[in-house]
Amino acid sequence: MKMVAAAKMRRAQERMEEARPYEKRLTDLINNLLPDVDRDLLDLLDVREINRVGYVVVTSDRGMAGSFNTNVLKVAQNEIDAIGKEKVDVFCIGKKARDHFKRRDYNIIENHLDFWNDLNFGDAIQIGAGVISHFTNHHVDEIHVVYNEFVNVATQYVESEVLLPLVFEDAEKQTVGKLYEPNKDDIIKSLIPRHLNVQMWKYLLESYASEQAARMLAMENATENAQEMIKDLTLEFNKARQAAITTEMLEIVSGAEALQSE
C-alpha cells in the first residue's frame, strides 16, 4: 500500500506541474486586462459586507492516511465555529468531510464524493460551478477553502484561503496595440470563472498529493510498528517456549529421580 500511495503521489505531483503553464498564462492575461476593465462589472471580484460565509473543505474519501483528514477538519471546524455555524454554508469535498459535518449537523450545501480515484478537470469545473453560483446568487458573501497544501513528502500544511471574492493585484497599464475580440470586458468575464476552475483544480491536486504522501508515511509507520511488534512477540514466544521446555525437563528429571529413589 505504501508503494501504491507513492506511485499515486508522483502522478499527482506531475499533474500539478502540468497545470502550471495554463494557470500562469491565464493569470498573466487577467493581469494584463484588469487595469483596462471596470471592476464593478465582475461579480466574482465583488467585495461585500460579510453576513454569511461559505466553506469548501477538501478531504479524502478514505482514511488510513494518518492525521491528514483530522487536521483539515479541525482547522475548518474551528474557523466555522468562530463565525458561528448557523452563518456558514459548507461544501464537502470527500466522504470524510461529509461524515464529519453531517454528524455534527452543519449546514451542508453540496457533497462531492467518490471522484478521487478518477480525478479529472471536469470535477474541478463541477465543484467550481456550484461554488460560483452560490456566491453570485448572494447566498454567501465570501468563500473560504480549507485544504492540505503539499510541501514535500514529509510536510503538508493545512491552508485556509479566501477563494471568493477573487483578489488581483493592481498591474501596470499595458499599452500594446493588441486586438481584443469581442472586447476586453467579455474576455475578462469568461477568463475569471476559468481562472477559478483552475484554482479549484490546484486545490484538488494539492490535497490529493498530500493525501497520498500522508498515506505513504502512515503505511511506513504501520510497517515499522508491525515489525517492532513481530520482534517483541517472537522474543515473548521464545521465552514462553523455553520456559515450557524447562518445566517439562524438570518434571522428567524429578520423575526419574523419584523412580530411582524407590
Partner: protein, 130 residues
C-alpha cells in the same frame, strides 16, 4: 504556404502541434480563421470545433471554449478541454446529447448550465462525424 507555430495549452497538458498553415476557431461572435503573420490578438472562444490545417490536411477538435492568444512567434490556444475528432466516442456523445435534451425540460438545473451542456454535447457529436 506560410506556416506558424501552434500550441494547445490545457490544465492537464501542453500539446505542441508544430507548424500549421491555418486554423479556424469558434470565436464568441462567430468562427474566424488565423493564418501566418496575423495581428497580435487575444480572442475569446466559445463551444465549437477547431479546424487545424497542417501540411494541406485538415483535422478537427471539439472544445468547450477558452482563448486564443496570438503573438508574433506563435498561436497559443488556452482551452479548458478539447478532444480530437478521432478520440470522440460517437455513441457516448449521442447518449450525452439525449440526456442533455431530456434535462432541458427539467426545472431544477439552472438554465445556462443546461444550455451549455446541450451545446457541448451537440458539438462533440458533430465533430466526431468529421
Amino acid at each position: 504556404m506560410n506556416s506558424f507555430k501552434l500550441e494547445i495549452v490545457t490544465p492537464t497538458k501542453i500539446q505542441d502541434e508544430g507548424q500549421v498553415e491555418h486554423i479556424r476557431c469558434p470565436g464568441l461572435d462567430g468562427y474566424f480563421g488565423v493564418m501566418a503573420n496575423h495581428r497580435e490578438a487575444i480572442i475569446g472562444l466559445g463551444v465549437g470545433e477547431i479546424k487545424v490545417t497542417q501540411n494541406g490536411k485538415d483535422h478537427f477538435l471539439a472544445t468547450s471554449g477558452g482563448f486564443a492568444e496570438i503573438t508574433k512567434e506563435k498561436v497559443g490556444l488556452l482551452l479548458e478541454t478539447y478532444e480530437q475528432a478521432e478520440e470522440i466516442d460517437a455513441a457516448r456523445a449521442e447518449a450525452a446529447l439525449k440526456r442533455a435534451q431530456e434535462r432541458k425540460d427539467a426545472k431544477d438545473v439552472d438554465v445556462t448550465r443546461k444550455d451549455i451542456s446541450l451545446l457541448r454535447a451537440a458539438n462533440r457529436l458533430k465533430v466526431s462525424k468529421r
